[in-house]
């Protein structure tokens, strides 16, 4: 096994074990999105009767929401874990070894992606239990899982950048509501075409979160929509690269100290 792969494997194992040993990190990332799925899909179900609404039920339309909220929560845990590593001095000790920066970050993302996988399974089970079916068919499941995991990696990398840069788990927790704000000002609740408030529609159009959710949603309510999926994968990939670059730069500064 090459040096880089060995480093990533060792750090990934540590990250996965640490995540799985903290039910407090997994439980909210599963329960909160499901709670909002229950109350939002039941409370706003009359939206499905709007002319031009793209799905036959609001539950089906909103089902992509938990994936995005859940990955945001799981990503924030990565940021908190890395910030804790800064606080405890673990990263300083790691700096004394010949470890590569990208290896540290990629290894830590393994925990996020593991939680992402658990979330995808849980949300699928709940969705299917309540009668939702993918319009894209069984093949859509693989694509939805791949997109959800890429989004997990993107949020994980972005929060990792925040965690390493600030070096404070409190700062990560403090910045966390910003993530909710970004997701809230998107097409999470209503399709962009049906948004009635002009400024909100403009914000949602510029907001990358809208394209992530529309990609996930397209597999559930539309079928195979190459454009929506292409944009969603592009945005998720772009955010991952941006997050990795930011985290790598922040880590470089910490290692230089």
């Amino acid at each position: 096994m090459s040096g880089a792969r060995l480093q990533i494997t060792a750090l990934a194992r540590r990250s996965v074990v640490r995540t799985l040993r903290q039910p407090g990190a997994i439980f909210p990332a599963l329960v909160f999105p499901l709670f909002f799925l229950a109350v939002v899909s039941a409370g706003a179900r009359s939206a499905a009767r709007l002319p031009g609404f793209p799905a036959d039920s609001y539950f089906k339309f909103y089902l992509a929401g938990p994936f995005l909220l859940g990955t945001l929560l799981a990503g924030a845990n990565t940021g908190t874990d890395l910030a804790s590593d800064v606080e405890s001095g673990f990263l300083n000790r790691l700096a004394l070894t010949p470890v590569r920066r990208l290896g540290v970050i990629a290894g830590n993302l393994a925990g996020t992606v593991t939680v992402g996988l658990i979330q995808v399974a849980a949300f699928f089970v709940v969705g299917f239990a309540f009668g939702a079916r993918l319009e894209a068919g069984p093949g859509g499941i693989a694509v939805l899982v791949a997109l959800a995991l890429l989004i997990s990696a993107a949020f994980g990398a972005l929060w990792a950048a925040v965690g390493i840069r600030t070096g404070s788990s409190e700062a990560v927790q403090g910045a966390f509501p910003l993530g909710f704000v970004v997701i809230g000002f998107s097409s999470l609740f209503i399709p962009r075409a049906l948004l009635t408030v002009r400024w909100f529609k403009d914000v949602a159009t510029w907001n990358p979160a809208s394209y992530l959710i529309e990609g996930l949603r397209s597999l559930v309510i539309t079928g195979w929509d190459g454009r929506a999926l292409g944009i969603a994968f592009g945005v998720a990939g772009g955010l991952t690269v941006l997050g990795l670059a930011g985290a790598s730069r922040a880590l470089g500064r910490r290692f230089a100290r």
Partner: protein, 267 residues
Amino acid sequence: MNETTIHHRMNARTYWRGALAVAGRTLRTTFRNPALLMPPLVAPLIFFAVIGAGLGALGKAPGFDFPGGYTSFSFVFILLNSASFAAVFAGLALAQDLETGFSRRLMLAVGRRSALVVGYALTAVVRVSMGIAAVFAVGTAVGVRPHGSAWDVIWLLAVVFGFGLAVALWAIGMSFRTRSVQGAPAVQIPVLMAMFFAPTFAPLALLSGWLHGAARWNPVSYLFESGRGFLAGNPADVGLAIASIAGLLSLLTVWVATGLRRAERTV
């Protein structure tokens, strides 16, 4: 004036002096720390933007008919949400004081320990007032207009303050039990659930399925319905709202009293 009356008056004065000292000190701490002051003020305004604008299309759903449209409809939820946020934070101030040991010293200093509860409740009232003022200012700026009389607005405010006080009592009672800020989720989650198992996004009449059943049994639902009725100038479910607030305040007063007794045992 006989000796007993003078004694009672001095006791009352000492009691209120203790309560006001606790309230003053907690408010000063809050105003000096923007991290404590801003979240309960700003978060409901963000919710207002997300729900009022993001779900605005619901105002065009068949059967939805609210004067002023969906923004006005969601305004009452935001008022109650703002009151609950402010009240929860005021209650958590007690949890922090209990955690650091400050409240323990306060308990030894005041004659009647319920003065502490009154002090933290007064803090909640001030913070709830600030939240309501902020939400009303933003609401007015985006076109929310009361369609009823001045009395309807006063009733609306009474409902919001009643709810804020109930949440404050809940938070104070829970803080006496957890005696730590770590217990914040135990304070916040039931409040969040009470607010969302209610006609949050659509009127009770438009809800169906399990949420309709849950909302009908949830006393907070009638605060939503009556508050919206007062805003629309068409009061509804007023008796149920008053009964809900009276019931909640009575139960939560017992909750706080038993919590205080439990905390006193640790002094």
